[in-house]
Assembly symmetry: C2
Homo-oligomer: 264 residues x 2
């Protein structure tokens, strides 16, 4: 099934999730379609989180936000149902992870607001298309991610550190990657740092806080991008009584294409 | 005073407003500093309006949003006081304009959220610096603005038409202006249309809905940009019980520079 879904549409992947046929990670599925991070919060926490995203657009580039109680993403995925259309979810209570279900119908409430946030897969596809290598894809592992000493701009109770992902590149590839990623501000945009990891508070580049370590070759520097795990760190910081997110790597597939996110 | 303020800082202009020395329009003041549109709403209307801005980034590019009750713009104008630092305001009740005061201290409440939105002056300065002419500045009149038949993406009760501003240019200037304005997504960005005004529902280009008509020469086409009057049209559409905005042309001066808005 996963193999069939590589050349499927975003809608095909959502239907597979809805039917219970897909419960595994989504990298490589529906190639060319935008994949997204998901955060669901009660209405009375939604303003502060929307403000947090507005103030931190590099880690939290919003693709769409629903009205309270609306489970369909009418703009980027008409006909979708956010309660069933992801392979796996995380349910949070008071900032603690309490369950990782495959659907969230029983948790749904009329006051829930859903935030759909751009994802690095979009710019990784653009890098690969331009022959800029992506090491964790070559090594078939998860991208390495690190908590930094860069504080996000707080909003209400939301705050915490910027989380970054890392891909090693040669200097000329760094230039090319900066040009390419600058075209995708709604998929984390240009890198936030490259070179010495300690400058941004990373003690050991070989021990990521999330994901897997990857090889950094002698002619390469580590390059750091704002990461979509940042909003989950902000949730753990704010400790809202109730929240739902996607399970990392198990993203929401939209109907829009990576190329649609180019430019403004 | 206005002449002295041409080469002043944004903070100088705010202090002049606060002291009651400046009650006139701000175009041309504190050249190089970002000027901004202002919308103030009660907390219980703020989520929907923030969502409206998120869904309509070309007419409503957010520069900053305050916490409820906070009159200082800590990010873009530390030390500012939104209650006194604009030359003139508009007070709205149920979508109707009820007063145009020079300060709003008596209206201030602990639940008010302020939205500071990018303004076309930023890209006009960049156009002029690149020798792209701006007709209404040449003619020393207000920019012509039009209500279009393009609907904004609604959010809660907020909706209504996209309002555009118009500047006539030759085709080669249109290309140059598109390149320049694309660099300023937080100041309305690239044009939304050029050429036939009827395509976007404008009946008579010589009769703008707001501002003044300007000359369009034989070798020029009208070029249309998303306009910061759009959020005021959205307020009239949503009819919140209470709102405050700047008086058109009487903008809020920030401490950030136009060049700071370049790129992402």
């Amino acid at each position: 099934m996963a193999t069939d879904l590589r050349n499927a549409t975003g809608a095909n992947v959502r239907v597979a999730c809805r039917g219970g046929h897909l419960v595994s990670p989504t990298p490589g599925l529906a190639l060319g379609y935008v994949q997204a991070n998901l955060v669901i919060l009660p209405r009375d926490w939604a303003f502060d989180f929307l403000l947090f995203c507005q103030r931190n657009p590099k880690p939290c580039p919003l693709l769409d936000v629903t009205e309270p109680g609306e489970p369909e993403l009418k703009t980027v995925a008409p006909g979708s149902d956010l309660r069933t259309d992801l392979p796996a979810y995380r349910v949070w209570q008071n900032g603690e992870l309490v369950e990782e279900p495959y659907e969230i119908t029983k948790y749904w409430r009329g006051d829930l607001v859903s935030f759909v946030i751009g994802c690095s897969f979009t710019f990784e596809n653009a890098l690969l298309a331009a022959n800029v290598p992506v090491r964790h894809i070559e090594q078939n592992v998860n991208v390495p991610m690190y908590r930094t000493n860069i504080a996000c701009n707080p909003a209400g109770k939301f705050g915490g550190p910027l989380v970054v992902s890392m891909r090693p590149l040669t200097p000329s590839q760094v230039v090319k990657a900066t040009q390419i990623c600058s075209r995708f501000p709604r998929a984390h945009g240009a890198p936030v740092h490259f070179g010495d990891p300690s400058t941004i508070g990373i003690r050991d580049i070989h021990k990521p806080d999330y994901g897997d370590a990857v090889e950094i070759r002698a002619d390469e520097v580590p390059v750091f991008w704002a990461c979509g795990v940042t909003p989950q760190a902000a949730l753990m910081h704010a400790k809202p009584p109730f929240a739902i997110t996607h399970k990392p790597g198990h993203m929401f597939l939209t109907d829009i294409k990576d190329v649609d996110l180019e430019g403004e």
